[in-house]
C-alpha cells in the first residue's frame, strides 16, 4: 500500500459514515438534514477533486493510490482499491453528480416544500449509500469486491424509485431490481468461473495475465456470462426494457444518477474486467456485441421518434447512446475503446443535464407530455428553453460539444476494427451506426420543434400556475446545471483532456490483442 491509499478509503468512508450517522443520531441531525447531505457530498467531491489534482498524469495506465489488504483470506478476497485513467473521470463524475443532486434537493425543494418533506432522512440516507456503491464500483480492483459494490447500488436505487417515484413506481422498481438481479447472478457465475480457472480474484493480476491460463471456450463462456450481467445494466438492446420505466418513474435525482452513473457501471465493467481479463472471449463475441450495439442505436432512435413523454424519450435516447459505447468496445481498437470511454463520460454529463431539465419542466407544468406542453418554451421560459436546446444539441452530437467526440471515435474504430475481426461486418455496423446518428439528430430536433419552438399555446390557467412566468431558471437550478454545461463545453472543445487520461490505460488493457 502506498501512503496515499487513505484517500480512496476516505472517499468511501465519508458517505458511509454519514449514512450511519443518520441511523445513530436521527434526532440530532433532523434540524440540519438539508445541510448534512450537502456537506457530506461536498466533502466527497472535495476528496475527488483532491484525487484529480494529486493523480500522477505521467502514468495513467497503472492503478494509483492503491490500497490492498486481505479481507477474507479463506476466499482469497482482498480489499483492493485503486484508481487509473479509466476510473478517475468516472469517480469525479459520480462525486459531482451526487453533489449536484444534493444541491438541487436541499436548496430548491425546501422552498417548494415537496420533496424533502417526504421522508427526508431516508432520502439523504439512500443517496449517501448509493454514492458509496457507485464510487466503490469504480475503485474496486477485486472481482468479488467489484460485484459487492455493483450490487449495493441496486438496493438504494430500488428504494429511490419505489418510494419517491411517480405513479407506476412499484411496478417500475420491481422490474428494475428483478432485471438487474437476474443479470447480476449470471455475472457472478462468470466471475466465479474466472476465479475457478485462474485461482485469483485480483483484477490487476488477471488483466496482466491477459487471459493466459484459460482455454478459449472458457473465456467465451465467461465473457458471455459477465457480458450479460453488464449488458443488463448498460443497458444493451434487447435487455433494456427495464430502463424506460425506471427512468420515467424515478424522481429527478434518481433519473440523473441512474443515467449519469449507474449505466456507466455496466460499460465500465467491460473496460475493466470483460475485455482485459478475457481477450480471446472478447475477440470471439465482439461481432455479436457490435450487432446488438447497432441494433440498439437504431432501435433507440426509432423508439425516441415515437415517444410523447419527454422523460421516456430521454431514457430511450440512453439506449441509443449506450449502443455507441458498446460499438466502441466491440471494435477492440484503441480508437474505439477511447471513444467508448469518452462517450461514457459525455453521456453522463449530457443526460444528467437533460434529466435535470425534464425535472424542472415537470415542476412547472406538472407534465412532461410533449403534446400537453404545447410549444414555445423559448418564448415563455426563455432561459430554460435555451438550456434545453443546448443539452439536446449536445446530445445529438454537434461538433464542439462533448457528445460528438465519443460517437465519432466509436464509428471511426468500426471503420478499422482490430485484426481478427471481420472488417466488412464492422463497416456495415459503421454505416448503420452513422444512420442512427442521423436519426438521433432527427428526434432531438423534432422534440425541440415541439417543445421549445412555435407559438406558446393558450394554456388553461390551472396548468400554468400564476407565478410560473416568473419562474424561469432559478438560482439553485442554475447552480446545479452550470458545472454540467461548463464541462460539456470543456470536453467538447478540448477532448484531449480526457483522451490523454484514457489512451495509455486503453493500450495497456488491449495489450494481449493482436
Amino acid at each position: 500500500m502506498t501512503g496515499t491509499g487513505w484517500l480512496l478509503v476516505a472517499l468511501l468512508a465519508v458517505p458511509l459514515l454519514g449514512a450511519l450517522g443518520l441511523v445513530v443520531l436521527p434526532r440530532v441531525l433532523r434540524p440540519v438534514l438539508r445541510a448534512y447531505g450537502l456537506v457530506l457530498s461536498g466533502v466527497t467531491l472535495a476528496l475527488a477533486a483532491l484525487l484529480v489534482v494529486m493523480f500522477d498524469y505521467g502514468r495513467p495506465a497503472s492503478p494509483q493510490f492503491e490500497l490492498d489488504v486481505p479481507w477474507i483470506p479463506g476466499l482469497g478476497l482482498r480489499l483492493h482499491l485503486g484508481i487509473d485513467g479509466i476510473s478517475l473521470p468516472l469517480v469525479a463524475l459520480t462525486a459531482l453528480l451526487t453533489f449536484l443532486c444534493f444541491g438541487y434537493l436541499s436548496w430548491g425543494r425546501a422552498r417548494a416544500g415537496e420533496f424533502l418533506s417526504a421522508r427526508p432522512r431516508a432520502l439523504v440516507f439512500t443517496l449517501l449509500v448509493l454514492e458509496v456503491g457507485m464510487i466503490g464500483t469504480f475503485l474496486a480492483l477485486d472481482l468479488l469486491l467489484f460485484f459487492v459494490f455493483f450490487e449495493i447500488v441496486l438496493v438504494p436505487m430500488y428504494f429511490l424509485i419505489g418510494i419517491w417515484g411517480g405513479e407506476g413506481r412499484r411496478a417500475a422498481s420491481i422490474k428494475f431490481i428483478l432485471y438487474t438481479l437476474l443479470g447480476s447472478v449470471v455475472m457472478l457465475l462468470g466471475l466465479l468461473l474466472v476465479w475457478a480457472q485462474t485461482g485469483t480474484l485480483d483484477i490487476e493480476a488477471l488483466a496482466a495475465a491477459h487471459g493466459s491460463g484459460m482455454a478459449r471456450s472458457v473465456q467465451i463462456l465467461a465473457f458471455v456470462a459477465i457480458g450479460i450481467g453488464l449488458a443488463v445494466k448498460t443497458p444493451m438492446w434487447p435487455l433494456h426494457t427495464w430502463l424506460p420505466d425506471a427512468h420515467t418513474e424515478a424522481p429527478t435525482t434518481g433519473s440523473v444518477l441512474l443515467a449519469g452513473v449507474l449505466l456507466k457501471m455496466g460499460t465500465y465493467g467491460f473496460a475493466r474486467i470483460a475485455i482485459p481479463v478475457l481477450p480471446e472471449g472478447a475477440l470471439a463475441v465482439a461481432p455479436w456485441l457490435g450487432a446488438f450495439a447497432v441494433v440498439g442505436i437504431v432501435y433507440g432512435a426509432l423508439a425516441c421518434l415515437a415517444q410523447r413523454d419527454l422523460k421516456r424519450m430521454i431514457a430511450y435516447s440512453s439506449v441509443g447512446h449506450m449502443g455507441f459505447v458498446l460499438l466502441g468496445f466491440a471494435t477492440l481498437t484503441p480508437t474505439g475503446i477511447n471513444g467508448a470511454l469518452f462517450a461514457n463520460v459525455a453521456h453522463g454529463l449530457i443526460t444528467g443535464l437533460l434529466f435535470f431539465l425534464a425535472g424542472a419542466i415537470k415542476d412547472r407544468y406538472h407534465t412532461v407530455d410533449m403534446t400537453a406542453l404545447g410549444g414555445g418554451l423559448l418564448a415563455t421560459l426563455p432561459r430554460l428553453g435555451s438550456v434545453l436546446t443546448f443539452a439536446a444539441i449536445a446530445s445529438l452530437g454537434l461538433p464542439g460539444l462533448a457528445g460528438f467526440w465519443g460517437e465519432m471515435l466509436a464509428l471511426l474504430g468500426a471503420f478499422q476494427p482490430a485484426d481478427g475481426l471481420p472488417r466488412g461486418l464492422f463497416l456495415t455496423y459503421m454505416v448503420i451506426g452513422g444512420l442512427g446518428a442521423v436519426l438521433t439528430a432527427a428526434y432531438f430536433l423534432v422534440m425541440l420543434s415541439r417543445v421549445t419552438h412555435g407559438r406558446p399555446p393558450p394554456l388553461p390557467a390551472e396548468r400554468l400556475t400564476a407565478t410560473v412566468a416568473h419562474r424561469d431558471v432559478r438560482t439553485y437550478e442554475l447552480l446545479a446545471w452550470t458545472p454540467l454545461v461548463a464541462l460539456i463545453l470543456l470536453f467538447g472543445l478540448w477532448p484531449g483532456l480526457l483522451l490523454a487520461l484514457t489512451t495509455p490505460a486503453v493500450h495497456t488493457l488491449l495489450g494481449a490483442l493482436p
Binding site: G74, L75, V155, L181, L182
Partner: protein, 494 residues
C-alpha cells in the same frame, strides 16, 4: 472392567440434561405464577449458557476428546480404538451452532410463553431434551448412538408442537410431524441395519474401513440410499419435504425456528457423519444422489415459496430451499475432498442459522399483533417499528444473498466455489437460477416492509422484553458475519 468416562467430553449434554431435570423439579414445586414462568426461562437460559461455556472450554483445550471407546483389549490390533463419543472440530462447530441458536430460541420461547396458555415447565424441559440430542448427535461416532441422538432431537419436538392445547392446527401439525418422522426413522433404521449386516460394525471409523471391501454390492447401495432418505426427511429435502409448511405454520413460532435451525442442523450433522465420515469410499454412489436431491430441493422449495401469503409458510419453504444449498457441496465430496466440501456446507449452515433466526424473531414479534401473520401484515413495518423492520429487511436480504447482506452472499459463494471446483457445473447453474427465484420473494417481502400500510390502524407492539435481545443477538451475529466472513471459515476450517 468398568468403562472410563471422560466427563469433560460429555459435559455439554450433561449440563443440559441436569438443567432439564432441574426445570422439571422447579416447575413441580414452585407456585404457578407468571414470575415462575420467567424464572424457568432464565434457568433454561443459564443451562444453555453453561453448556455453551463447556463447548468453548473444549474448543480452547484444542485437542480431540473421545470417550465410550472400545477397550483396547477388544479392539484388536492396529489403529486407535474406535470411540462412540468424539469431540473434534466438527462436533464443536455444530454443538456451538446448536447452543448459540438455542439461546435465541429460549429467549423467543420466553416471549411466547409470557402470554400464558402453554405450560412453561414442560416446554422448557422438552426444549432442553431436544438440545441434549442435538449436542450429542454431532459427537456420535457409531450408528446406534447416531439414531438414538436423532430420535432424542425429534421426539420432544412432537410434544412441543402440540403443546398449544386446544389448537386444531397445532395438533394437526404434531401428528403430521410424528408420522413423517417415525416413517423416516424406520427407513433409516432399515438402512442402518443393512450397513451393519454387510460390514459387521456400527462404528463409523470401522464402517469406513470395511465398506471398501463390500463397495458396489447392491445391498450396500440400498443401505446408503435408505440412510440418505431417512436423513432427507429430517432436513426436509425433496421428495420428503411436504410436511414442512403445515408443521411450521401449526407449531408455535419458536418451535418453527427450532425445526428450521436446530433440528435441521442435527439432520445435516448426521448426514455428514454418515456420508463423509463413514462412507467416503462410496462417494460415487451417493454423490449423484445428493446432487439430484439438492437440485430438486432448492427448486421445489423456491417455487413453493413464490406463492405463499403467510410469513411462516414462506419461511418454511425458503428453509427447504436453503437446505438444498447446504446439501450441494456434499455432492462433490468425492472430487474435492471431505474437508472442503463439509467446510462449505457447515459454513453455509452457520450463516443460515443466524439470518433465519433473526427473521423468525421478527415474525414472532409481528405474530403477537397480527394473528394470521400474513405478508400483508408486514406493510409499513419499517415505519411502525423501525428496529424490527430494518432487522427483518436485513435478514431477508441476507437470505436472498444480496449485498448489503454480505453474509448470505458469501455463504453462497462458498457453496458455488465448492461445486464449481468439484466440476458440477449444472448444479451451479441450477443454484444460480434458484438464487434469482429466491430473490423475487425475499425482495417482495422486504419491499412490503417499506410500503406505507393501507388504511388499517397501526397497532403498537406489545412489549416482549425477551424478544429484543433474541432479535438483537441474531442480527448482530449476521452483521458480524457480513463484515468478517473469515470468522465462519476459521470456525469451519475443520
Amino acid at each position: 472392567m468398568s468403562q472410563q468416562i471422560d466427563y469433560f467430553a460429555i459435559a455439554p449434554p450433561l449440563a443440559l440434561a441436569v438443567t432439564a431435570a432441574l426445570v422439571l423439579l422447579l416447575d413441580a414445586f414452585l407456585p404457578h405464577r407468571p414470575r415462575t414462568r420467567t424464572a424457568l426461562g432464565l434457568v433454561t437460559l443459564a443451562g444453555v449458557l453453561v453448556s455453551l461455556g463447556f463447548v468453548v472450554a473444549q474448543a480452547t483445550a484444542g485437542r480431540t476428546l473421545g470417550t465410550f471407546c472400545v477397550p483396547p483389549a477388544l479392539a484388536g490390533t492396529g489403529g486407535p480404538a474406535p470411540c462412540t463419543y468424539v469431540v473434534d472440530g466438527f462436533t464443536l462447530v455444530l454443538a456451538g451452532l446448536v447452543l448459540a441458536s438455542a439461546v435465541v430460541i429460549v429467549l423467543m420461547s420466553m416471549a411466547e410463553l409470557a402470554g400464558g396458555g402453554i405450560p412453561a415447565g414442560e416446554w422448557h424441559f422438552l426444549l432442553l431434551c431436544t438440545l441434549v440430542g442435538a449436542v450429542t448427535l454431532p459427537a456420535s461416532r457409531d450408528l446406534v448412538m447416531l439414531v438414538v441422538a436423532l430420535e432424542l432431537v425429534s421426539l420432544p419436538v412432537f410434544a412441543l408442537t402440540a403443546l398449544k392445547r386446544y389448537d386444531g392446527r397445532a395438533s394437526e401439525a404434531a401428528v403430521k410431524l410424528f408420522v413423517v418422522s417415525v416413517v423416516s426413522t424406520a427407513v433409516m433404521l432399515f438402512g442402518v441395519s443393512l450397513l451393519y449386516g454387510m460390514t459387521g460394525t456400527v462404528h463409523l471409523s470401522g464402517l469406513a474401513a470395511q465398506a471398501q471391501a463390500v463397495a458396489g454390492t447392491p445391498v450396500v447401495t440400498v443401505g446408503v440410499v435408505l440412510v440418505v432418505a431417512g436423513f432427507g426427511f429430517k432436513i426436509a429435502a425433496v421428495p420428503f419435504h411436504a410436511w414442512a409448511a403445515d408443521v411450521y405454520q401449526g407449531a408455535p413460532v419458536p418451535v418453527a425456528a427450532l425445526l428450521s435451525v436446530v433440528s435441521k442442523a442435527s439432520g445435516f450433522a448426521g448426514l455428514i457423519l454418515v456420508l463423509a465420515t463413514a462412507l467416503p469410499g462410496q462417494a460415487g454412489t451417493w454423490g449423484p444422489v445428493v446432487a439430484i436431491l439438492s437440485a430438486l430441493t432448492m427448486t421445489a422449495g423456491n417455487l413453493l415459496a413464490l406463492r405463499q401469503r403467510s410469513a411462516v409458510r414462506l419461511l418454511a419453504w425458503s428453509s427447504v430451499a436453503q437446505s438444498g444449498y447446504v446439501l450441494a457441496p456434499l455432492a462433490v465430496t468425492g472430487t474435492i475432498g471431505a474437508r472442503e466440501a463439509v467446510g462449505a456446507s457447515v459454513a453455509y449452515l452457520v450463516i443460515y442459522a443466524a439470518m433465519n433466526l433473526g427473521a423468525f424473531a421478527v415474525v414472532l414479534l409481528v405474530a403477537r399483533t397480527a394473528g394470521r401473520n400474513e405478508l400483508d401484515d408486514y406493510r409499513g413495518l419499517a415505519f411502525r417499528g423501525p428496529a424490527a423492520g430494518i432487522a427483518l429487511a436485513f435478514c431477508l436480504v441476507c437470505l436472498a444473498g444480496l449485498p448489503p447482506g454480505l453474509a448470505g452472499l458469501f455463504a453462497k459463494v462458498f457453496v458455488f466455489r465448492a461445486i464449481v471446483e468439484g466440476g458440477l457445473g449444472w448444479l451451479a447453474l441450477v443454484m444460480a437460477v434458484n438464487t434469482v427465484i429466491g430473490l423475487y420473494y425475499y425482495a417482495l417481502w422486504a419491499a412490503r416492509l417499506f410500503t406505507p400500510a393501507a388504511a388499517r390502524t397501526p397497532v403498537a407492539f406489545r412489549a416482549a422484553p425477551a424478544l429484543w435481545p433474541a432479535m438483537g443477538l441474531a442480527v448482530a451475529v449476521a452483521i458480524v458475519f457480513s463484515l468478517a466472513p473469515q470468522l465462519v471459515l476459521d470456525l469451519t476450517g475443520l
